[in-house]
Symmetry: C2
Subunit: 201 residues, 2 copies
């Protein structure tokens, strides 16, 4: 079995959401697993002096809001621009890493549920209560997760994931790494497909 693919994303990233709906199936067609790594793009942008692509005042910023929705239609993924956007995602990311330590298939289901709660149902995924609700909806014990979210160990776990992402050059979301080769953006899916099919080009 070939090495797993690494998928870095922020739960508040529209292109990260589009990739999340596609990457597992693409990988599976080529006999690969995917390791999911939620990170905090705000922390990464601050570290590297970058900024999010979309804003509501410039022509460039407005283009990206339009492109989020059009790219979702292109990929045939349900999408509704969240009314609060972007949102802090540390609670969702910490919950993911805690679940991942318990049951990695459940963590994957939780990640899909968080993305869809934000980008389809317009829920406020920054709120701890919403994160707990989403987890409970897929069968997670709410009080165990609530307790875990308060622990310094879990905060350190997310910080370590962010530091590791920065160390290997992750600068945006989605950022996919296949056998050391980086692919940034949902629009690199066709290149990812060809790379997996051919072993590099």
């Amino acid at each position: 079995m070939a090495e797993p693919i690494d998928f870095y994303f922020d739960f508040s990233s529209p292109y990260g959401y589009l990739m999340s709906e596609k990457i597992d199936a693409v990988a599976a067609r080529h006999g690969r697993q995917v390791r999911w790594h939620p990170v905090l793009l705000g922390v990464i942008f601050q570290a590297i002096g970058s900024r999010p692509p979309a804003d509501t005042v410039s022509a460039r910023g407005r283009y990206f809001f339009m492109d989020f929705a059009r790219s979702a239609r292109f990929f045939e993924v349900p999408f509704q621009q969240p009314s609060r956007f972007p949102l802090p995602t540390q609670n969702a990311a910490r919950a993911f890493y805690w679940l991942h330590g318990e049951d990695c298939a459940l963590a994957r289901r939780f990640a899909h549920a968080v993305f869809r709660a934000f980008f389809v149902a317009d829920r406020d995924i920054s709120a701890p209560d919403t994160v707990l609700e989403i987890a409970a909806e897929i069968g997670v014990d709410r009080s165990s997760l609530a307790a875990a979210l308060q622990t310094p160990e879990l905060k350190a776990r997310l910080k370590a994931a962010n530091d590791q992402a920065l160390a290997i050059g992750v600068f945006g979301s989605p950022h996919v790494i296949i056998d050391g080769e980086a692919f940034f953006g949902a629009d690199r899916l066709p290149q990812i497909e060809r790379w997996l099919a051919t072993g590099g080009f």
Copy 2:
């Protein structure tokens, strides 16, 4: 006949070059013509407070240099990273607009020749002499072009093209507009194809 497609680009833009090798054939398959508009990305970036994607010091910047070459292989377009990059392109852009006033098919051939001189043959397309040589190689009268490049009318023509691009929201290269719909980046070619095939999605 449907309205022409508008294609905005800078001669120093790798993704603009990739689009230049594809857009006419894609448009023709759907019964469309393409109007080419060279602009100065440096002027546009200054106006909107943006910056070029690639640099040699950051992980993000190095990614884009890698991605230029990989995207060229993906699109099966010859590409060699120019040793001097990026370069000012006002002489090449002015020459294009002068030729366009004389013979628009010749202007198109010139644009391809400039892109390939830079991104395949590593020629210094910022130099007036190189621009004149490239033009002469495709049959343009060198002394007529040399005289035209000195005129304030031609400088004003490029400035007007840049101002018009900024006014309609062009913020990068390549930027393609189809019936009022904007597509930024060579990686939007699949969306352009579907848009032309379906009349919108």
